[in-house]
């Protein structure tokens, strides 16, 4: 039986009386990929922000790799690598410079910096592009670089917030293959949020569906798919997909106002960029 690397107990976050995350409980076992699914504004990003110590929980506790997110944020930060929802690499620097900067910020031992950068570049097939400014990278290449960057300080856990948002199917397939490799070869545990059910189905060992700040249901994708009534459809597409599971539990109503409900930094920045586009 594997040990849990993430333990979340009654985690709650309130913004001015609005409860964005409401007593959430879950565990992620070592070497597993855990998916947090939910409509816009359900509380996914807020949960990730608390686990990555960017936001302080209102109540409850979370342990990452044995470290308390509130009492020892620095140890938590060293244990995790994060790939944010929006591009967070510096586009005026080259790929290699972005990686070097990360090594300096995360105190990678000087003697290992060079070899780790080579290793990370190779891992995501960007060795040839290392001296190109990030401005010239495609969306998928940037994602891959950020994936590699998140691993430079050898974290045991990787946080992926919507890792393939806005990518075309080829780039998405490519990122998936890289993520699968990371789990297999580097033995990292992953927690990811996503809107894409086929992504969760393919990558995750366990998923939890969160809505209105609460986890409604969790289990392996297979458990969840067999746990709902069969969809009313012609027999050739009869089998329930994770997409059906998602809509079964969260309903079909659009969440137009969901974005503003979440007050996290990432959400604010995202809303801001949207408004100004």
């Amino acid at each position: 039986m594997a040990n849990p690397v993430i333990e979340v107990k009654d985690l709650t976050k309130k913004f001015n009386g609005f409860t964005a995350v409401d007593s959430v409980n879950f565990e992620v076992d070592e070497g597993c990929v855990f998916g947090l699914l939910g409509p816009n504004g359900a509380g996914k990003t807020t949960t990730i922000s608390m686990l990555s110590t960017l936001l302080r929980p209102t109540s409850g506790a979370a342990h990452i790799n044995g470290h308390d997110v509130q009492k020892d944020p620095a140890a938590v930060r060293r244990s995790i690598g994060i790939v944010f929802q929006d591009p967070s690499s510096d586009d005026i620097l080259t790929g290699r410079e972005n990686l070097l900067l990360h090594c300096l910020l995360f105190d990678v031992p000087n003697a290992e910096i060079k070899s780790r950068i080579e290793w990370a570049l190779k891992l995501v097939d960007l060795t040839e592009w290392q001296n190109t400014l990030l401005k010239k990278y495609s969306g998928g290449m940037r994602r891959r670089l950020e994936l590699a960057r998140g691993l430079l300080h050898k974290p045991r856990i990787l946080f992926l917030d919507e890792p393939t948002l806005g990518l075309d199917p080829q780039a998405r397939e490519n990122i998936w293959v890289h993520i699968e490799n990371l789990v297999k070869v580097e033995k990292v545990s992953i927690i990811l949020t996503t809107h894409y059910m086929e992504e969760a189905d393919r990558l995750c060992d366990r998923v939890a569906i969160i809505d209105h700040g609460k986890i409604i249901v969790s289990g392996t994708p297979t458990e969840l798919k067999t746990g709902i009534p069969e969809p009313k459809r012609p027999p050739e597409v009869l089998k329930a997909t994770l997409h059906d599971v998602f809509l079964y539990y969260t309903g079909k109503q659009l969440r137009e106002s969901g974005d503003t409900a979440e007050g996290g930094f990432m959400q604010k920045v995202m809303n801001f960029t949207k408004k100004n586009r």
């Binding site: 005026i92 300096l104 105190d107």
Partner: protein, 248 residues
């Protein structure tokens, strides 16, 4: 040691960005040179101040003006960083906010000092005579001034989320700081109301010290100028650090 390495990383990043945007140096020199050549040259034909040509008198003031503008506007990059989300990567690093602030601050100060040094060397064409002491002291004044003002700019940038808001707020601040500093006129015989605003403006003490060092025309003792500049720098660095603590 870990914090120092992070600090160097942040500084290195700012220098790379500065180096990649060399055109910024050229454009930042344009307006001070315009002031010196056109305004200074024009006024110089009709006026002398305290025994020196107006253009020469103006030089220390314009030197401080250029550092004032480039330093405060450095805060714009923090707003920009927040928008492109690069900053999140820095904020999740296991580094204290003091380190993150100091790294940014040193980056901005270095930018301003490079621009200041180029402008200082142009003083040759405006009747300035240098000595080893005057060059070292002038750079020290520019360093203190720019550390104070980069911190002020970063603090504003940390608190404001939009580029337009930053520009608006900063123009309300930067022009009074320039005009009240006495960069354009001598501090003697000012009416009381003007004297008041001049005395609370940190740039005043940089301009005064710079005039003392380059032209021997200071109104306050040099030691006092340095003391007040240093105090302003410490104050704004502390305020900026506090603003960075609040950054999410």
């Amino acid at each position: 040691m870990r914090e120092l390495k992070g600090l160097l990383g942040l500084w290195y990043r700012e220098l790379l960005v500065f180096w990649r945007e060399k055109s910024r140096i050229i454009s930042s020199l344009f307006s001070p040179i315009l002031w010196l050549v056109v305004f200074g040259g024009g006024m110089g034909t009709v006026s002398h101040v305290e025994g020196v040509n107006y253009q020469t008198f103006l030089f220390p003031g314009i030197l401080c003006m250029s550092v004032l503008f480039s330093s405060i506007f450095f805060g714009l990059y923090i707003v920009w960083d927040k928008r492109i989300d690069f900053f999140k990567e820095v904020l999740v690093a296991p580094l204290s906010r003091v380190t993150i602030f100091t790294g940014k601050m040193l980056g901005g100060t270095t930018d301003s000092l490079i621009q200041g040094a180029i402008l200082l060397s142009l003083g040759l064409f405006f009747g300035i005579h240098y000595s080893v002491f005057s060059v070292v002291a002038a750079m020290l004044i520019l360093f203190l001034l720019s550390a104070a003002l980069v911190s002020l700019g970063l603090m504003i940038g940390a608190l404001i989320d939009s580029l337009e808001g930053f520009n608006l707020f900063v123009s309300f601040l930067i022009f009074p700081m320039f005009f009240f500093s006495g960069a354009l006129f001598p501090l003697e015989n000012l009416p009381n109301w003007l004297k008041f605003f001049t005395f609370i403006d940190p740039v005043t003490y940089a301009v005064d010290a710079m005039r003392g060092v380059l032209l021997n025309l200071n109104r306050f003792p040099l030691g006092l100028d340095f003391l007040i500049l240093g105090a302003f720098a410490l104050f704004f660095i502390s305020a900026g650090t506090l603003a960075f603590r609040k950054l999410k």
